[in-house]
Symmetry: C2
Subunit: 151 residues, 2 copies
Amino acid sequence: MSLTKAREMMNEALNLARYAAVQGEVPVGAIVVKDGIIIGRGANRPMESHDPTAHAEIIAIREAAAYLGNDRLTGCDLWVTLEPCAMCAGAIAHARIARLYYGADDAKGGAVAHGPRLFEQTTLHHKPEIYAGIAADESAALLKKFFAERR
Amino acid sequence: MSLTKAREMMNEALNLARYAAVQGEVPVGAIVVKDGIIIGRGANRPMESHDPTAHAEIIAIREAAAYLGNDRLTGCDLWVTLEPCAMCAGAIAHARIARLYYGADDAKGGAVAHGPRLFEQTTLHHKPEIYAGIAADESAALLKKFFAERR
C-alpha cells in the first residue's frame, strides 16, 4: 500500500474521531475496509449511546459484520486512530481482522504495544498483521486538545 | 450472599447458556444484576447475529446499560457461566462492574485467571471483586456436551 493510500484511509478514521469530539466523546475513530471499500465506520460514543462497549473499533466491526452477514471479517482491515484497548483487541481477534493499522500509542490503556500486549498471548486465537504510528501525531493532537478543553 | 441465592443467580445464567446451545451457539450465558434485580441478560450468539462481539457478557452489559441510561454499571454484578475472554474482561472494566461471578474456568481463552490475567494489569482501570467456580461443573458439562455433539 502506498503512503498516500494509507494516509487517505487514516484520514477517514480521523474524521470519525473529530465527529466523536464534537459530540463530547473521547476522539477515536475507526473504519473496516475490505478490498479497498469501507464497510464499517465507528466514532467512539459510549456516553451518548449509554453503551460501555461503544468504542470506535467495536462499532465499526459490528457494522462490517452485519454488512457481510458473517461474524468473521476474513480479509478485512481495521484502521483506528488510537492503539486498541483490551476489549477492542479481543474483538479484533474474534473478528479475524487480517490487518490492524493504528495511529497514536496509548500507554495508559492500550493492549497491543502496552500492558498485556494481547496479540502476543497464546490465549488470543488470531493475530492480525499490525502497523502502528500512522498519522500518530494528528491523532494524539486531537486527544490532547480534547482533554485540555475539559480541564 | 447465601449459597442458595448464588446458585439461583447462576441458574439464570445457565438457562441462557442452554438457550445458546439450542441455537447452535457455544453455550455461555450471563446476567447483570442490580439490587437483586436482573437488568441485563445475554446468551452467546455471534454466529446467529453476525456479530463477533456478541458474547453473553457483552449482550447483558449493553442491555443493562441501556436500561440504566448510563454507560457505567456502578453497583452492578455480572454472573457468567464461563471465565470471560479478553474482550469481555475489558468490557467489564469499562462498565465498572462491581462484582464478577463466573462458573467454569477457560484455560484456552480465559483472560481473568488465565492468559493475560487482565484484572492484574495496571492498564485496566477498574477491577471488580471476583468470585470463580460457581456451578462450574454444570457449566463445563454443558460446554463439553455441546462440543462432543459437534465432533
